[in-house]
């Protein structure tokens, strides 16, 4: 990034987390700019989950800080972080099974608008247009009236994305956005995320195991290994980095150089 780069959406600095004697995270720092699609990768046990869960508030770091638009959010509850404009999707997509797809997104919008404690007016008429628009954007408009529990998994993932976007977030945290999807679905999903981030100027931090997704679409890649940040740069730079190859020793080292 050049000298007059825009102010980062998210900055993490010197994050450290211990479990007993094990250092899950050891002084990890990086930042994300608006509109940037940043992949967080690393072999199993590298500290991806810890890092991710500290940013979204499920875990409290032993040291270090998380800043959102310059404001410290370290250790805030997940629901407070959500209200500050951070959307989230889970590794196993989670939606409200007993509601229709439309109601799911309406719920997300109602929560974002702080109207949860309305006790009398029917929710059906609230935020309906905006919810339909979000379903449209994620390609699930045709499923609006279907119960979420009856949707195919790929559709659940897209519905979850629509819900995560409901609060008009400035940052989207996606934990393995394409886990459990077929190869074609994976590409379609990440392309959709790519489109939405460009049009909304949205920053996305995602973890991913599928290297085709990472190297095909990420703007930048941050690599963790044994709790340390070992690389932070463009796809090409990371692919050529000997330290990264070293970290992915063995069978995986072949697949990492594989570009789609």
């Amino acid at each position: 990034m050049s000298g007059n780069a825009p102010a980062p959406v998210l900055e993490v600095s010197a994050l450290t987390k211990h479990y007993g004697g094990v250092r899950a995270l050891d002084g990890v720092s990086f930042a994300i700019a608006p509109g940037e699609l940043l992949a967080l990768i690393g072999p199993n046990g590298a500290g991806k989950s810890s890092c991710f869960n500290i940013i979204n508030g499920q875990l409290r770091p032993d040291a270090g800080e998380v800043r959102l638009h310059g404001r410290a959010i370290t250790g805030l509850a997940p629901r407070r972080i959500a209200r500050l404009g951070v959307g989230r999707t889970f590794q196993v997509a989670t939606v409200f099974g007993s509601m229709t797809a439309l109601e799911n997104v309406q719920m997300a919008l109602i929560a974002a608008q702080g109207r949860v404690f309305r006790l009398w007016a029917p929710a059906r008429r609230m935020a309906r247009e905006a919810a339909l628009a979000l379903l449209e954007q994620t390609g699930t408009a045709a499923l609006a009236e279907r119960p979420a529990a009856a949707l195919a998994y790929g559709d659940v993932k897209r519905l979850e994305l629509a819900m995560a976007l409901a609060g008009d977030p400035s940052l989207l945290l996606m934990d393995e956005p394409t886990a459990g999807m077929s190869a074609e679905e994976r590409q379609a999903m990440i392309a959709l995320v790519r489109r939405l981030t460009r049009s909304r100027g949205l920053a996305v931090l995602f973890t991913e195991h599928a290297m085709d997704v990472v190297f095909g679409h990420a703007d930048r890649v941050v690599v963790l290994a044994r709790g340390r940040l070992i690389a932070n740069g463009s796809v090409e730079a990371v692919q050529g980095d000997p330290a990264v190859r070293e970290a992915y020793l063995g069978g995986v080292s072949a697949s990492i150089s594989e570009t789609p």
Partner: protein
């Protein structure tokens, strides 16, 4: 109050702690391995005591007093363990995969059946056992006489604690129990015979409970109220100690027993000119201990955060507001109910029965708000019914307030109770929520039973008659119908409002709801408060309808009636609880009134529902319909 008295009571506290610990430890071990909270655990304690007072004299005649007494205790423990094994094989094996609520209900049904079986076998009178040979004396302790047997009991708790610890750490069986507690799939994968392990664990747990009960032989008579009172105590102990922790169970039992003993020791305390009888506070003390511990350590002293439990059973279909036909039917039913007083000349009993049904409908619907959309099965909804009824009765009789105002006082009392208790309950989910709500209901029941100046003790409050125009059967009925309809409309609006949507969201996925910025605990707390307040309204109506209120009317039985109503009608529908309320009220009125064993009969009905439709009544019916089509 002297230091000696305090110390004396402290030793007494150790003796009580042992009994509590034996029940709680068994409950904890069984839960750890099978993930079933055994609602009938207190029943095995009660059975242990009954068996001991029966066996001891028999064995005493044959082998002499000492052998009879100790043989009786040992025999009682073994027989309860065998009964436990039988129950596990016959009943529990069929419901391990069923939804949590059904497991709780099935074991509760067992409690009802065992209680009625004990009534049939041993009769309603308390039975005293023999005194302990060799331990019937007492020792001089700080100028008072401390019974030998209490000292013996005080020692038994730590002895069992150490024995259990050895069993769990030093034996293969113990290692299996610990492995199964931590990871059930792993044990199955290792090729261990799970069925045998589960049976053995259940027998061990119930055997310890029976042992605990049998040990009380020299202290208290066997009676039929023991099962529930012990269960409530055991739940408090387990919640305070942390589910699954044996050490925690002992420490919590000790804490609860010592605080109670301290209150007894303090006796009358003068504070700022007022005199408080601290020994009356023993019941509240239990609550306070639990409150303090849960605020500081939400998972109990030695408990770990509960793993998010996967929801078993099918996802509910989306709720749809009533269409045109639905509204017409609802209106027609309302008109029919409103017209009932017109027929009182022909069927004078009709308004009385209809009043019961209307009250039951409000009671069940308020419970369903928590159970259905909230996904929180309260086993202590009777508490708010009781607070509403007692508040109304007290205001109408002692304070002499006019009827509507007295009713308002009742609702306010229930609301206050629900706000207070709810704050603790909504922090927990699943079985923990069920246990805590039941424990709170037991506390409310005990207060109603013991705070004689205000509640009239076991007799309750009398002469709660409404003023005109509510003093006639029809007047009161129509007023009750109006209140119930208002309550039902409020619940419906809530469920379809953003609040109701958020409540369902928290039930479907707490994680997702929090990630959207929804404060799930606060949503649940408000739902709990509203459900409690509406339930209190049902209680207030009940007090006016019967003209009195007594502890019996607000016992755990009423909480269970509510659960059965909701399940009979179907937890997944908003109309279900109303049908269930009507159905159960009719059933109780027609059949069950005739028999002293109707609670046991209710238990059998519950068991049948659970065994025939292990995945839920609504799902079962849907499957039936599916296969018929």
């Amino acid at each position: 109050m002297s230091f000696e008295a305090l110390l004396f009571q402290a030793v007494n506290g150790f003796a009580s702690a042992s009994g509590l610990f034996l029940v709680a430890a068994g409950l904890s071990i069984i839960f750890g391995v099978t993930r079933i909270v055994n609602m009938a655990h207190g029943s095995f304690y009660m059975l242990g005591l009954y068996l001991a007072v029966t066996l001891a004299p028999l064995l005493g005649e044959a082998f002499g007093g000492a052998l009879g007494f100790w043989g009786g205790i040992l025999g009682a423990a073994l027989v309860t363990a065998a009964l436990g094994a039988l129950v596990e094989v016959v009943l529990l094996r069929r419901i391990y995969a069923a939804p949590e609520l059904y497991q709780l209900l099935a074991t509760f049904a067992l409690l009802l059946i065992i209680n009625d079986a004990a009534l049939a076998f041993w009769g309603p009178e308390d039975i005293l056992g023999p005194r302990a040979p060799g331990l019937s004396g007492s020792v001089e302790f700080l100028g008072r006489r401390l019974p030998d047997y209490d000292i013996f009991l005080a020692l038994i708790g730590p002895v069992v604690l150490v024995a259990l610890h050895m069993l769990l750490t030093r034996t293969r069986f113990g290692r299996l129990i610990r492995a199964a507690t931590q990871d059930r799939e792993m044990v199955a994968a290792l090729g261990i015979n799970e069925a045998v392990l589960f049976t053995a664990v259940f027998a061990l747990g119930t055997g310890i409970a029976g042992f605990g009960g049998a040990l009380q032989m020299a202290r208290e008579p066997a009676n039929l109220a023991l099962d529930l009172s012990v269960l409530g105590d055991a739940f408090v102990v387990v919640v305070v100690g942390g589910m699954g922790s044996i050490r925690g169970a002992y420490l919590a039992a000790l804490l609860v027993a010592e605080v109670k003993a301290l209150c007894t020791a303090l006796g009358l305390v003068e504070l700022g000119g007022f005199t408080f009888n601290m020994s009356r506070l023993t019941l509240v003390a239990e609550f306070l201990v639990m409150a303090v511990v849960l605020v500081i350590r939400p998972h109990g002293l030695f408990g770990r955060p509960q793993p998010a439990q996967a929801r078993r059973g099918e996802a509910e279909a989306p709720l749809v507001p009533l269409g045109r036909t639905g509204r017409l039917i609802a209106l027609a039913v309302l008109v029919c109910f409103a017209a009932i007083p017109l027929f009182s000349a022909v069927a004078s009993y009709a308004p009385v029965l209809a009043l019961d049904m209307v009250i039951a409908a409000l009671f069940a619907a308020s419970l369903h708000l928590l159970m259905g959309p909230g996904g929180l099965a309260s086993f202590g909804h009777a508490a708010y019914f009781g607070l509403g009824a007692y508040g109304t009765a007290y205001a109408a009789t002692v304070l002499g307030l006019p009827t509507p105002l007295a009713f308002g006082v009742g609702m306010a009392t229930a609301a206050a109770g629900a706000v207070l208790f709810g704050w603790f309950c909504v922090r927990l989910e699943g079985v923990y929520f069920a246990m805590l709500t039941l424990a709170f209901a037991q506390i409310v029941w005990s207060i109603a039973h013991q705070w004689e100046e205000v509640t009239g003790g076991s007799n309750g409050l009398f002469g709660v008659w409404p003023d005109p125009p509510f003093d006639s059967a029809s007047g009161l009925y129509l007023a009750a119908l109006g209140v119930t309809v208002l309550g039902l409309v409020l619940i419906r609006r809530l469920v379809f409002a953003p609040f109701g949507l958020a409540l369902r969201a928290g039930r479907d996925s707490r994680l997702r709801a929090e990630a959207l910025g929804i404060a799930v605990d606060r949503v649940r707390w408000l739902a709990f408060a509203i459900a409690g307040t509406l339930c209190g309204a049902a209680g207030g109506l009940f007090a006016f309808a019967k003209g009195s209120i007594s502890p019996e009317a607000i016992s755990v039985g009423r909480s269970i009636d509510g659960l059965v109503m909701v399940l009979l009608g179907g937890v997944h529908s908003l109309m279900g609880p109303l049908l269930g309320a009507g159905g159960l009220t009719l059933l109780q009125d027609m059949v069950m009134r005739e028999s002293p064993y109707w609670r046991g009969l209710l238990g059998l009905i519950i068991l049948l529902i659970v065994l025939i439709f292990p995945s839920g009544l609504a799902a079962g019916l849907r499957r039936k319909r599916g296969s018929a089509a």
